[in-house]
Amino acid sequence: MSESTDVKQSDAKQSDAKQSDARRLSVFKTYKLYVGGKFPRSESGRVYEVQDSKGTWLANAPLSSRKDARDAVVAARKAFGPWSGATAYNRGQILYRIAEMLEGRRDQFVRDVADAEGLSKSRAAAVVDAAVDRWVWYAGWTDKIAQIAGGGNPVAGPYFNLSTPEPTGVVAVVAPQDSSFLGLVSVLAPVIATGNTTVVVASEKSPLPALTLGEVLATSDLPGGVVNILTGRAAEIAPSLAAHQDVNAIDLTGAGAGTDLARDLEIAAADNLKRVLRPSSATDWTAPQGTERLTAFLETKTVWHPTGSLGASGSAY
């Protein structure tokens, strides 16, 4: 690593390292939000300083406002109809495409994650690989969950009766604070796999992997607005999302188990009876996941229709 400058940025690090004579000044990236398929700055014009685990400046990240949160909800609502109406096969291919794009930018994410979480390069690589694999895992779930979570019901009468899982709607996600990338992917992928759209509040301390993920999502055929990524203070943005009347559910994972924030968000969420996924303590994000995060944001719709009663006269056909 170059010692020639104490200012570094994850994108620029490798090229810095190659330029031992520091002839070429690297190009920094302006980290921006990902909302409605675009990369806006915070409407507030605010940024905050993001540092690596050793306290070195990495970048300035947008410090999102409550207005940014509301804009993101509008984008997510707009995207909900088309995304929930897309075929499960189509959603599966898009989630798989995200894994493909991520794999192609593996090195960049390894650097981002290593900086963000203070991991060695090999451990950061393992985290990124696990995140790629997680997208693949959820990509395969899109067209299977309905058969696991729904099905025909043998009612005692001449009726056809079918239960089908449907996405809850717009889901606000407070992403894990410590696992800024694998944790993020692990909470994000199951939400959108089933057709929900989402507004994610990224890890406050380590928001850069989330913002870089936005760049991957934007180039993976994922329709704009399906995932909206905000960075900043969870305590500032999340209450707006929890109280928002056009948000249907909230995942409180990143608010932390047993915290006042988690409790206050749950209280605010009760106003329009959002589905709340409470934070659990100490989740191991490298462990295999079950279907709980898929089903937490699904509704069950049951449709009845009379079948008539052929053969009532006794014919055995």
């Binding site: 239960s163 749950e266 589905r275 049951t302 229709h305």
Partner: protein, 476 residues
């Protein structure tokens, strides 16, 4: 055309209501700690049926402690043994179903033909269904050996007293939980009779505890720190309060709340069948049904024809003695509920909607409201937005399927909807777009223990019934 009917009352002799009942805690009927009691009346006559102990905070605590004590043994029983207790209960309910039907009709005010042909058969079926799950939980899709939560605090409404008890208690016991159940203050009797059925079935003491009371008893139960699971059926306002009160705890919650179901009739629907479906949708149980089809959305081209047929049909409905086997419309459950219905109906008129009520004579005592519909209703009208929970239908029209779906979904609720059309692809397309937990196509208000029931949006969360209904009572 008028039909003359001779009275055909079901006999009251099959049910023996005691002058007073205690709380059912730890397998015994006991007085309330502070000795408080309240009266339960027959809504069709205002006759006092019995005096019931009123559970206070200390009684809630006693009941929860009894349920906690019973939990260890009950949850450790082999599932096959728990199953047999539930099968016993199902069978005893079948044996005693006429008694319970008459009791329910007396305490609730709904017609005997409903308690006899709908409530009671469904109650027995629900216990029979969940009995069979008790030793098959490994196969329910929640992993191997799913564990119960512990003590379930359950609060149920007055519209289907015993059926709501069954929806709450059957899955809770099948999965190995113990329960404390608070029946509604206007309909406590069938739950107390159920306590006697538990005795007959030999159910271990403390597994089921019944604590009648008002809203504050329910709040004390929901708020009790040693309750692991809260299940509530009732109003959306109370449901929101519960959601707030459990915030920050580990209590698992399911809420079955209000609705404003759209019943959509397309121009190709068979009119006579649709009329029957509309009547079932909103006048079943006097409209005091959370999944009632309380908004009729009719395609403009058939509106006049349909409304004429509907009014003709409503004019033949027989309102009166709920114990009479010919009665279609029984009493409203309480004076308070009747006052609420009247107030919203008056608001409907004041806001400019046109009111029509079926010509029928209301009995001089008891709580009664004639089947009523409102036309010239817009989406902004109170009668189109608020859950009335009474025999009041609001009629709106539409021109295209898209407009029908948009209007149907234009509500804070999302519990039920109906679709009437002969065109299969339209049924599937519309059903797909409706944001409602139960969609009845060319039928309405059908229920079955195997069929998951529950709402979208502010109609609550969680499902009751079917394999889905197990999740609410398992630590998964």
């Amino acid at each position: 055309m008028t039909f003359e009917y001779a009275p055909a009352p079901e006999s009251r002799a099959v049910v023996d209501i005691a002058p007073s009942y205690g709380l059912f805690i730890d397998g015994e009927f006991v007085e309330a700690t502070d000795g408080k009691v309240f009266k339960t009346v027959s809504p069709s006559t205002e006759e006092v049926l019995s005096e019931v102990a009123l559970a206070g905070q200390e009684d809630v605590d006693r009941a929860v402690r009894a349920a906690r004590r019973a939990f260890q043994k009950w949850s450790a029983l082999p599932g096959s043994e728990r199953a047999k207790y539930l099968f016993r209960i199902a069978r005893i309910i079948q044996e005693r179903s006429r008694e319970l039907a008459v009791l329910e009709t007396l305490d609730n005010g709904k017609p005997i033909k409903e308690t006899r042909d709908a409530d009671l058969p469904l109650v027995a079926a629900h216990f029979f269904y969940y009995a069979g799950w008790a030793d098959k939980l490994d196969h329910a899709g929640y992993g191997a050996n799913p564990r119960p939560l512990g003590v379930a605090g359950q609060v149920i409404p007055w519209n289907f007293p015993l059926l709501m008890l069954a929806w709450k208690i059957a899955p809770a016991l099948a999965t190995g939980n113990t329960v404390v159940l608070k029946p509604a203050e206007t309909t406590p009797l069938s739950a107390l009779f159920f306590a006697d059925i538990c005795r007959q079935a030999g159910l271990p003491r403390g597994v089921v505890n019944i604590i009648p009371g008002y809203g504050d008893t329910g709040a004390a139960l929901v708020g009790h720190p040693d309750v692991n699971k809260v299940a509530f059926t009732g109003s959306t306002a109370v449901g929101k309060g519960i959601a707030r009160s459990v915030a920050g705890t580990n209590k698992k919650v399911t809420l079955e709340l209000g609705g404003k179901g759209a019943n959509i009739v397309f121009d190709d629907a068979p009119i006579d069948q649709a009329v029957e479906g509309i009547v079932t949708g909103i006048f079943f149980n006097q409209g005091q049904v959370c999944c009632a089809g309380s908004r009729l959305l009719v395609q403009e081209s058939i509106q006049d024809e349909l409304l004429d047929a509907l009014k003709r049909r409503l004019s033949t409905l027989r309102l009166g003695d709920p114990l009479d086997k010919n009665t279609d419309i029984g009493a409203i459950n309480s004076a308070e509920q009747l006052a609420r219905i009247k107030a919203v109906a008056d608001t409907g008129e004041a806001e400019g909607a046109e009111r029509w009520s079926a010509p029928c004579e209301l009995p001089s005592s008891g709580y009664w409201f004639a089947p009523t519909l409102f036309t010239n209703v817009t989406q902004a009208h109170t009668v189109a937005r608020d859950e009335i929970f009474g025999p009041v239908l609001s009629v709106l029209s539409f021109r295209t399927p898209d407009e029908a779906v948009a209007k149907a979904n234009n509500t804070q609720y999302g519990l039920s909807a109906g679709i009437w059309t002969e065109k299969g692809s339209r049924i599937l397309a519309v059903a797909n777009k409706l944001r409602a937990g139960v969609v009845w196509a060319n039928t309405f208000n059908k229920f079955d223990p195997t069929s998951p029931f529950g709402g979208y949006k502010e109609s609550g969360y969680g499902r009751e019934g079917g394999r889905h209904g197990l999740e609410a009572y398992l630590d998964v």
